[in-house]
Symmetry: C2
Subunit: 395 residues, 2 copies
């Protein structure tokens, strides 16, 4: 009997919208994206809120309930919003995923109903995983509320939780139905989150867009003054570059060995874990980028001037380029708590050959399949020195 060979093609379509004060009565965006005008019955929505957000927006849960009540012909909010602690805590404890899957069961959410997640990137990752696995995937509305989630993770097609001590070990690729970026949430973000989210903008600029890097250099001071106009532009350009990459790179579900958007991320993921998640993802990414840029410089791949511009931009943005965890166990590179173990873990998560993106100039990247660990250790030492001098010059 001859074998049967089949190609199956799937098309996903989703959009990212930009707004402010999404849940204020006069804002029609949510009704528009739910296509309520075409529905015979109200759209069922199960809402999940990031607890961290409620400190600054204590009225949010009530606002959402009122919004849905005033539009009850269109939206059927099937319970009061479920509030879950945000940050990595929600990805580390499996009980949250189970709790949400059970809520989807209990409230009769189907593949044509919606789960709406409002919060930071970690919460969106966790809720996305629950939504993608219940009924083999119910519709997901993401309302990212941090710089990092609005410009990076929240606009992408992944979800995940941590397991067995590994970041993002469990997850799926599952494009959201729609992403709603609400700028108002950024105004109440703690400075540390505001700043750290910018690291992913630096990353995507370094990989793909020299002019965007110049924009960041020119506007670093304004960004530190929390200029909302500059931040809006930053987020828009990041989202644009991110989606363009997913749609055109030829491997959106990452079945190959290459993952060009993960510049600096092998070290970043390991640093987050080693710091027991006291480092924010963006903070760890800034260090990871600085590290791989330094490595590229020492390997004569990246001109010294470009390397210096990168470190200077991080300084101007108030982002450290070194953390003590970088130097832990560096004398025993095989120790699982040595930063270098992150290389193997990164390869394993992705699969196939080790493939690390590096930059050769601002806006241009290559991929390498081996890392010289001696040069990497020198890069860490160089960053440590830079950091020490820089800290001293501040104080």
């Amino acid at each position: 009997l001859r074998s049967i060979d089949q190609i199956i093609q799937i098309n996903y379509r989703y959009s990212i919208h930009f707004t402010s004060r999404l849940f204020q009565d006069e804002n029609p965006l949510l009704l528009d994206v739910l296509h309520c005008d075409q529905a015979l019955t109200p759209m069922k929505v199960l809402c999940v809120l990031d607890e961290t957000l409620l400190y600054h927006h204590p009225q949010l849960s009530k606002d959402i309930q009122l919004y849905c009540m005033h539009n009850s012909a269109c939206i059927d909010l099937c319970s009061t919003p479920i509030v879950i602690q945000g940050g990595e805590a929600s990805k580390n404890d499996p009980k949250y995923v189970t709790m949400l899957q059970e809520a989807i069961h209990q409230y009769g959410i189907c593949r044509h109903s919606y789960v709406m997640a409002v919060g930071g990137g970690a919460l969106l990752d966790m809720v996305g995983y629950a939504a993608a696995t219940a009924h083999r995937g119910v519709r997901l509305i993401r309302v990212p509320t941090t710089v990092l989630s609005q410009n990076d993770s929240g606009v992408g097609i992944k979800n995940s939780v941590n397991a067995f001590g590994k970041k993002n070990f469990l997850g799926t690729f599952a494009p959201p139905s729609v992403v709603l970026n609400d700028a108002h949430f950024l105004t109440t973000l703690p400075m540390r989150d505001w700043r750290s989210g910018i690291a992913e903008a630096v990353k995507v600029a370094l990989l793909k867009d020299c002019l965007f890097f110049e924009f960041l250099e020119e506007n670093a001071a304004r960004l530190m003054d929390r200029d909302m106009q500059v931040m809006s532009k930053l987020i828009y350009r990041c989202a644009q570059l991110h989606l363009e990459h997913i749609a055109t790179n030829g491997d959106p579900f990452e079945s190959g060995s290459s993952r060009p958007l993960d510049f600096g991320h092998w070290a970043a993921h390991k640093l987050e874990q080693l710091s027991q998640y006291s480092l924010r993802h963006g903070e760890a990414v800034a260090i990871g980028i600085a590290l791989d840029a330094t490595y590229a410089y020492l390997m004569d791949l990246l001109p010294a001037h470009d390397w210096q511009r990168i470190l200077q931009l991080f300084s101007a943005l108030g982002l450290a380029v070194y953390a003590n965890e970088l130097s832990n166990y560096l004398s025993s590179p095989d120790h699982p708590d040595c930063i270098l173990a992150g290389l193997q873990e990164f390869r394993e998560h992705l699969g196939g050959r080790l493939t690390i993106p590096l930059i050769t100039s601002i806006g241009h990247s290559i991929e390498v399949n081996a890392i010289d660990t001696n040069v990497m250790m020198k890069s860490i030492e160089l960053l440590r020195q830079y950091h020490t001098i820089h800290e001293e010059s501040i104080s």
Copy 2:
């Protein structure tokens, strides 16, 4: 800021191969499909075996280990095969999924390594779910060992486990890397499993292929004599029709309301649950098909002659068209243990409008969006009478 709208296209490709005695030394199929000749290092494989299979093939685990040892330049079997109880038990207890995800973590299985599942449809569903969620999806080789899994679930693109009392509540759409149908495993299948797997062949013939239905009618006696040649043809045609459907129906991941392959399945899923899984999936499907065919007949959608041919074919195949669970709580149709509750559960799992496939003649189907519960209750009563008379005539 204008919204960003993006289309993302994914292409999957997989093949189904037909063989006998896959793990005998001289059989090259496994090496061929792993493309071992192109790999620089041996392909890492984590193997999971269905315990039920080992009763009839006690040497299987050793055979697999020897096969991999003799081909160690190509295959790196990273542990002795993991043996798990097959059947719905493996889908009902969440510990098995967690155990496999942990094994994938522990043995360093990456997106370019393989999980190979050998067993019946339930085990393949469960292993597939674990493989699809670890690292956002590692490669899966399915070796289905029952009629039902070789002709239906094992060649499709779904995986799942049961949760919160609902069949297949958790799962993903994730095409396997490759499916290897080994005919030898069918020779040792208990008669009950041999027979019940044929129900899905009747289903796909009724929906899509009148000539295939005639083939089943003509060969019913040979099938009951366990003629392997007829069974091979049956499985091949089913697999062909199944894949053709997935690739060409325009909605492989079932985002719409229509699910034409699920003829008879609203009742079948509910019957399995009501019988506490003492009914095999195929047995429940036979009853579900008979029920919806009877309903179509009573609704004047299906000619009497076609209806009778269907019931007669099930008789000739030794498949009952009635189970007592059909009549439970029929006087209180809103009771959750009434078979009619299956309609709402089916709608909810799929989402959107209730959409039930029915047949109008052998080989032709339509979809209806409402079911007349009075007529459905009459259909149950008619089947009960048919069953009683038929049972009496046998004894």
